[in-house]
Amino acid sequence: MKVLVVEDEQGLAESITDYMVKDGYICETAATFRDAEEKIHLYTYDCVIVDLTLPDGNGFQIIEMLKRLIATTGVIIISARNALEDKLKGLEIGSDDYLTKPFHLSELNARVKSLLRRRQFGGHTEIRFQEIVVVPQTRKVFVNGQLTMLSRKEYDLLLYFLSNVDVALTKASIAEHLWGDNIDSADSFDMVYSHIKNLRRKLLEKGAADYVQSIYGIGYKFSQP
């Protein structure tokens, strides 16, 4: 999977790249409009992450250009502007998702994965992690072949974990993933805790190993025990 990150802030581009490379992606960066223009003309990418404000141009133009070249490439906008008009315009010209800065790398990663699943296999793919199988199209979860009933939030939580295996996830990033930005985090942290407790219990009941580990002061990590 090849991903292009168009972002002028060097440090942020680096962080995104590091995070994606660890997950097995081939990642390239472009810091300017010209750079990005050149790269999308020369190479083919599965997904492009675009910052809207670039020193020498506008991210929207890159998306338009890209959509003319290869329409199937997934596009995720990352922007500092939290304006409705920008989001609508982005969707209109063919982007798939919009993330407002500052965002969580884990969230970006989850969105990229979900986007690629939809783009590449039309959603007809299963996500496997050891004995856990998730079928995104029907939103069903199997552990050791047994159907496991999860609530909507528990399912979202599991998918978020599976998109970020072996990664320490902060409570805030989990809360924002589940409820969006508008929730008071004092409550949401408690709610995250209760959802994780339930998810863990349901997975254990079906004979899965205990993959959810809590990290003191930070949050949780989904990995091999």
């Binding site: 802030e9 942020l12 500092a80 409820w179």
Partner: protein, 421 residues
Amino acid sequence: MKLLTKTNQIYLTFSLVIYLLTGLAFYQIIRLLIYDEVESRLKVERRDFETYVRTHNAWTSAPYFVENKIEVRPVSKRVPIAEAFKDTLIQNRYDNELIPFRQLTFYEPIHGVVHRVSIRKSLIQTYRLIEVISIAMVLFLGLLLLGMFWFQRKLSGRLWLPFYDTLSRIKQFDLNNDTSLLLSKPEITEFNELNDVLQKMAAKMQQDFRSLKEFTENASHEMQTPLALINAKVEQLIQTEQLTETQTNWIESIYQASRRISRLNQGLLLLAKIENRQFSDTQSVDLSALLTEKLTDMEEVLSFKQLSVEVQTTAPFDVQLPASLADSLVTNLVNNAIKHNQPNGRIELTSTADQLCLSNTGGQLTSDPERLFERFKKESTGPDSVGLGLAIVRQICDSYSLHIAYRETGGIHEFCISRIG
């Protein structure tokens, strides 16, 4: 009062005074001249009379045709005046009309006896003359006055035309609109200069307003990007396996602080944007439906905090708001009602066509209720509260002619929104 009315008024008053004074002076001068003339003729007649008396040493009195022209009466004692003029009225012998006369009185000895002699001259012709002259003068001066008045009115109307043109254009000028102020180039230097200055000022204002708007956007970008960087680096840092407990605590503090700055920044930018009226696409929004929907969305939080919700909407409460602000308004209201609630508390939404109220149970307010809507007024000291929620609610209401009121009765905190006007 209008400028032209004012100048006309001043002009009219001033010219009327001048007109009256001129009229009066003119009348006096004519009168003086005429009296002078009559009196000099009377003096001539006196000389004639004296010559006659000296020659004939007698006076045959009162020929019938001359109406009381010369009256001679013997007097016993001579009064010590040489001669005196006076106005007198004498009755016409036919129609009993009083006729004005000028009379010269002097004393003359005839046959050794002192006689008082009065020579009279009718002033009736003179009076008519004065009348005619006066009427003519009033007429001409009046016409002149009216003519000048009319001319002056026309003239100033025309002279001030560019000024009124400029005024109406400035009135139509809208800062929010991107069209620049276009003014005509009148030939009068002062107006030309005025238009020049106004045009420059408007351009400067527009530029400032634009850069303010740009600043709002740029500030967002410039601050959110480093914050995103901090967040990303913190996220990478926590992946490190061998963190000590203290290090973890530090990292968590950094993380929370950066999230708070981000929320703060977003809140302040939203406030600035509302103040600058950068949301223009208002539409009719049913706030009560939107609030009900929001409460349903928050069901999970509500049940987690064991809060019961009661909705009593008798009629939709429609307001004119941009969609994103309507959402921001209800989100902040609901968040506030949840955050300051107590366990097993209640949230109640009531709405009529004129008013919408959201009330919640909760503890006593620790600060002044008047200052509840101020920025950075926080009831709780939680790290996630930035104290802008109600300020945003207030700003939205203020900017879109809505009124928000807070009331607290027996542990129930109620926020009511109503339309102004």
